[in-house]
């Protein structure tokens, strides 16, 4: 599945001018509010008609203003999960779920109710009316409803934005399962880098209606300077590592890569399996000498590859640990106090890592447990 978008659209004073190509399983549209994310998905979903441009999904031309093509939304076969679930209040949950199935051509129906219900864990809600559901439940039903229409592409417009943290944690595993267990590509709009870092395989950063950067999520997240100022600490790197040993007495797992060894908790995997860990820039401390007497277990030696400073008080330090890079976000003051400069040997102290269950298919034995909210493991 490929998505190719080149659009120009005006909404009052706002101008959207974007060109995006993506093959990702979950492409995140990321940017601050007002950057044009929602306009872009509305254009994709057919809720808006662009002034100019082309949208091609899976070699199917949905919009081509030059050729006068505009496929209306009900013929696009694009599932849309709205921020406000938009369940039909006069129907039961199961009627909501089955609504789109009726309109999908029989030969292309793949959404089966039992599968979707199991995937989203909504079996106990089927006879209820939307009015009596919690926000998180509504959003799960909305995802299921979009799936049951057997779409070729799913759009999610900040599906978690109106929920509190507990509800977000409740739903995220379902979105991960959706991404990993179904083959439907997802376009996911968000202004939360935490969500994007956890869910996205690919990423497009938008600002003021323009694409700032696009590419694989792991590459984009490393470019802290391209992320919005208040979200830079959420950026970081992804390391491909391998499980090398387990210590059941302490409940620790050792991961190894060319960068060195780190020890983590809460990772249940056999030695030899691959694991991807995400290390946020704000969770990395830089030391000029190997520290002692520290509770942190994970100290990786390396040399400074680059230091990027801007107008804010922070310095983004990229450390080359034997070929693998670790990004650290420290203050400019510390950077000068330590005399950091490219080429200097330093130690990266990692306070916590996030397992990218997302891309660590081998890590999760069987299905990820949706009730499991611990994804951010402190590994002091």
């Amino acid at each position: 599945m490929s998505l190719s978008v080149a659009l120009r659209h005006r909404l009052g004073d706002f101008r959207l001018d974007v060109a995006i190509e993506s093959n990702g399983r979950l492409t995140a549209l990321f940017g601050p509010s007002g950057s044009g994310k929602t306009s872009l998905v509305n254009l994709l979903g057919g809720l808006l008609r662009p002034d100019e441009g082309r949208i091609v999904a899976d070699s199917r031309v949905l919009v081509d203003t030059k050729a006068g093509i505009f496929v209306p939304k009900h013929k696009r076969r694009i599932g849309y999960v709205f921020q406000d679930a938009r369940l039909f209040p006069h129907m039961t949950v199961s009627q909501n779920l089955l609504y789109g199935r009726f309109f999908a051509p029989t030969t292309e129906r793949y959404g089966d109710l039992d599968g979707v219900v199991a995937l989203l864990g909504i079996g106990h809600l089927l006879d209820r009316k939307p009015g009596s559901l919690s926000g998180g439940e509504k959003q799960r039903i909305a995802i299921g409803r979009a799936l049951m229409a057997s779409p070729r592409l799913i759009l999610m417009d900040e599906p978690l934005a109106s929920l509190d943290d507990n509800r977000k944690a409740e739903i995220m595993p379902y979105i991960e399962r959706l991404r990993d267990e179904t083959k439907i590509p997802i376009v996911y709009v968000s202004h939360s880098l935490g969500e994007v870092a956890r869910l996205a395989t690919d990423m497009v950063v938008l600002d003021s209606g323009k694409v700032v950067v696009a590419g694989q999520a792991s590459d984009v997240l490393r470019r802290l300077d391209l992320l919005p100022a208040d979200e830079r600490g959420e950026g970081g790197v992804v390391l491909d590592m391998r499980v090398s040993g387990r210590d059941d007495a302490f409940g620790m797992t050792t991961l190894v890569s060319s960068a060195g060894e780190i020890q983590v908790t809460g990772l249940d995997a056999e030695p030899g399996t691959a694991a991807r860990v995400r290390i946020r820039a704000r969770d990395v401390i830089v030391a000029a000498e190997r520290p002692t007497g520290l509770s942190a277990l994970n100290i990786l030696p390396g040399t400074i590859a680059s230091i990027r400073t801007g107008a804010d008080p922070f310095a983004d330090v990229l450390i080359d640990c034997n070929g693998q890079h670790i990004a650290a976000r420290i203050t400019r003051q510390s950077s000068e106090a330590l005399g950091l400069r490219p080429g200097l040997p330093v130690f990266a102290i990692i306070k916590s890592v996030t397992f990218d269950r997302a891309n660590t298919a081998s890590v999760a034995a069987g299905h990820p447990q949706p009730q499991d909210k611990t994804i951010n493991e402190k590994v002091e």
């Binding site: 809720l47 009900h74 694009i78 406000d84 938009r86 006069h90 309109f103 009316k129 939307p130």
Partner: protein, 234 residues
């Protein structure tokens, strides 16, 4: 009690005729009522305020004026009336169908208002959501919009029925006051008040009018409550 039910054949005719005329007026004005309400609520076209004005005219004009306008357009020699008579054999003047037409037109603005308000209250985002699920505009209307505006439609129908039951001025001007054909309850009451010793009859029909009106209101309450329980607005 026996006194109340001891109606003369003419009085029974008036009761039956009134219910028939009102029901026909209500049913036949429903489809155009929904369409006009949709146009007024959703449409963007030149002359929308003119259409709105025309729909509301019967509400503000003296009923006798509406009746007279009906007489000169739908009468046997009127342009529309003559056409319908020659091509379809439909005659309105001095028939009960004419009474239904007059009642329908007088009740039309009330019906349109009720339906229009409920259409404007529908969250259009739900319709957009149905569209992304594959429903074309007609299906969206049938499966989303229509069920959501059902309470408004029921309210509009009841209002129209009640208005039709009470319609007097336009009806008597257009189709006169012929017992058994065009003499509805209000006309019959009026006739009783015009003859000596008619007080008892007028009172009987008045009480029957009140009972029918109350029954219609209670019925509408019950139906509306049942529907809104089914919809359970979030």
């Amino acid at each position: 009690m026996q006194w109340l039910l001891d109606l003369t054949p003419d009085e029974w005719d008036a009761v039956r005729l009134s219910i028939k005329v009102s029901a026909v007026a209500m049913v036949f004005s429903l489809p155009p009522g929904i369409i006009i309400a949709l146009l007024l609520a959703r449409g963007r076209f030149w002359g929308k305020s003119i259409l709105n004005g025309i729909v509301h005219l019967p509400l503000i004009l003296p009923p006798v004026v509406t009746g007279y306008l009906l007489l000169i357009t739908f009468g046997r020699r009127g342009p529309v009336g003559a056409f319908l008579d020659q091509h379809f054999g439909i005659v309105f003047s001095f028939r009960w169908t004419g009474a239904a037409l007059a009642c329908g037109i007088m009740a039309f603005p009330l019906m349109v208002r009720a339906i229009r308000l409920s259409i404007e209250a529908v969250d259009r985002k739900l319709e957009a959501a149905a569209g992304t699920l594959g429903a074309n505009p007609l299906w969206v209307f049938g499966t989303i919009t229509l069920p959501l505006i059902l309470p408004g439609i029921v309210a509009g129908m009841i209002l129209a029925f009640a208005k039709a039951m009470g319609e007097f001025g336009a009806t008597i001007t257009f189709v006169s006051n012929i017992p058994g054909e065009t003499q509805t309850l209000p006309s019959a009451i009026y006739t009783f008040t015009q003859v000596p010793g008619g007080n008892a009859g007028a009172l009987r029909l008045t009480i029957i009018s009140i009972i029918i009106a109350m029954a219609a209101l209670v019925a509408s309450e019950v139906v509306a409550r049942r529907i809104s329980r089914r919809i359970e607005i979030e």
